[in-house]
Amino acid sequence: MTATSPGPLRRDTGDRREDTHTARTALPTLLWIPAVGGFALIALPVFGLAWKADWIRLPELVTRPAALQALELSLRTAFVSTVLCVVLGGPLAVVLARGHLPGLRALRAVVLLPLVLPPVVGGLALLYLLGRAGLVGQYLETWFKIRIPFSTAAVVLAQTFVAMPFLVVSLEGALRMAGERYEEVAATLGARPWTVFWRVTVPLLFPGLGSGVVLAFARAMGEFGATIAFAGSLAGTTRTLPLEIYLQRESDVDAAVALSLLLVAVAALVVVLVRPRSAEGVR
């Protein structure tokens, strides 16, 4: 972790198998009971979903035009939201971790608000800011003829609103763990603030970036409450996969289950592909 640790001279990154000779300190047996309970609470519902699914009709159900349209919209908007999260949330994390401003703690509390707020409240808040009668929305409407609510842009904004704190928290954690001393050393070595930012701070962000991006993307893919409140449920423009699932649940339970499994598969794929090493506790 630190640059000083003597450590092994070559680290074999490919092999993550446990060394069978390691004598580990024993875990208290009692710990296993709540641990298994906790795992079951997360894993069993997914298993239940798979058990309930109509596997024969599944291919047909997930390839219906409405389903594909929703999936495509979800992937597209979640991608744009994630990019927005990185572009806006990255600098925000740096300011929160490294800035020397009064009131920074209050600022951080505001940034973390979407984590604790019901998403539907966030959606309403966005609506009253950017809606036709909203604080800013009315001027966008009259001056620029821009109407955001109930558009794909609204979906992206809603998703960014709920997903950004995940990225900010990950990146800020990585920066705090690395400490400010690397930047100080870089400065005494003659690097200007901009050089320090690009060549030292940004690389120090990388360990947190993987997990932050995965969390933000997954959160954006799963967004429901804020989207339905701010963007509505218009097929093709704002009806993302979670909204489609909710809609189908009323009429065709099998279709809803099939789409849910599709969402699970996409999430699993993202986690496996990006494999955020910091989220696995290794660097």
Binding site: A187, T188, L189, P203
Partner: protein, 374 residues
């Protein structure tokens, strides 16, 4: 080995006053171009705060820092040059190599930051890495380096910035016993050979002896003692300097058997492997390794010389016998100490003014290259 980057030796003058919670630093110091100052002091005496203020990482409450005629800090005039434009490099205790860059990338960082072309920076970095004997480690990431290797790469990186003033914050403290002598020899080559102006914060009087022209002892944020290294460590006036020193010094020139003193006598001891015959050197030994005799002893000790007892100072259950030069004896014996038990003083009936012999076993004597002019 020659220094690749020509040193920019510059004079430093600093007055710094800085108060933090429960602690106040008030220091004035000056360094001539190419001079190396060792700052010694107990933990919490303000050594690191002093370095941070010089490097511009802390703003003093009052004071002025000038480096080669440039005003870097002037609190009354509201001037504070930021760290990256000071020409002062801080080598911290931990090497703090950038974890995402290779050893070569780390050393190339300062020239690249100055806008030097990638290929030129690479050549400079390779030269400096070979100067610190780490060229074969160029491709390694910091995580793949040992503590000593990482610190040597950090020295190369500091030199790559071509600083006018080099600040070293206990560079040997985080290293294991085996790696410290190598780094000390390297720093000596870099600081002494290159003629760099530098401030070295250290706990170890040996670092001061080997690296520094002058020593400054800090205690609770104030200077309690300063002067040429050998006189401060040889005749410590402050309690701290005496405690860390506790060392007796004889200086001269290195020769194959030991240190040749100005009179031509050879002081025998263990040789530091980096010591070259003909260069200035010191023989260092603890006062308790010195025995006192009325007659010239004929046993195994190799270093035997006559002295006159100047003073006898009780220190707990031992007595410090301070020597003066005896007629016909070496002049360098003046100021040396022997530490013997009070019972021995009584048995021998030692009194000030008596002419006695000091004897030191060669096995108790370490020979080191010495900094500065003797």
């Amino acid at each position: 080995m020659s220094t690749v980057v020509p040193a920019r030796a510059t004079a430093l003058a600093a007055e710094i006053e800085l108060a933090r919670a429960g602690f106040a630093l008030s220091v004035a110091l000056g360094l001539a171009p190419g001079e190396v100052l060792a700052v010694l002091g107990p933990n919490g005496s303000g050594k690191s705060t002093l370095l941070a203020a010089l490097a511009g990482l802390l703003r003093p409450d009052r004071g002025r820092v000038t480096l080669g005629g440039r005003i870097l800090t002037d609190v009354t005039a509201g001037r504070h040059v930021p760290p990256h434009r000071r020409g002062i490099v801080l080598l911290p205790q931990r090497p703090l190599l950038f974890p995402h860059l290779s050893a070569l990338g780390n050393v190339a960082f300062p020239p690249r930051s100055r806008g030097v072309h990638r290929r030129t920076a690479r050549v400079v970095a390779e030269q400096l890495l070979s100067e610190v004997d780490c060229l074969e480690l160029a491709a390694r990431k910091p995580a793949q380096l040992s503590g000593g290797q990482a610190q040597r790469v950090a020295v190369a990186r500091a030199l790559a910035a071509d600083p006018e003033l080099l600040l070293l914050d206990e560079p040997m403290a985080a290293l294991d016993v085996d790696a410290a002598p190598t780094l000390r020899a390297l720093l000596r080559r870099v600081l002494r050979g290159g003629g760099r102006t530098a401030v070295v914060v250290t706990h170890d009087p040996l670092d001061a002896l080997v690296l520094a022209d002058r020593v400054l002892v800090l205690s609770s944020g104030a200077i309690v003692e300063q002067g040429p290294t050998r006189s401060v460590l040889g005749r410590p006036r402050s309690a701290f300097a005496a405690r860390i020193a506790g060392l007796e010094l004889v200086s001269g020139t290195a020769c194959p058997d030991g240190v040749r003193t100005p009179e031509g006598a050879v002081f025998a001891g263990h040789r530091d492997p980096t010591l070259l015959a003909g260069e200035p050197a010191v023989a260092v030994f603890p006062a308790r390794a010195v025995s006192v005799h009325w007659e010239r002893p004929t046993g195994s000790p190799r270093n035997i010389f006559p002295v006159t007892i100047a003073t006898l100072e009780p220190r707990g259950d031992v007595v410090r016998v301070r020597a003066g030069a005896a007629t016909g004896g070496p002049a360098w014996a003046d100021g040396l100490h022997a530490e013997i038990t009070a019972a021995a003083v009584a048995d021998l009936e030692l009194v000030p003014g008596a002419r006695v012999w000091f004897a030191v076993k060669a096995a108790e004597v370490a020979l080191h290259p010495a900094a500065g002019q003797s």
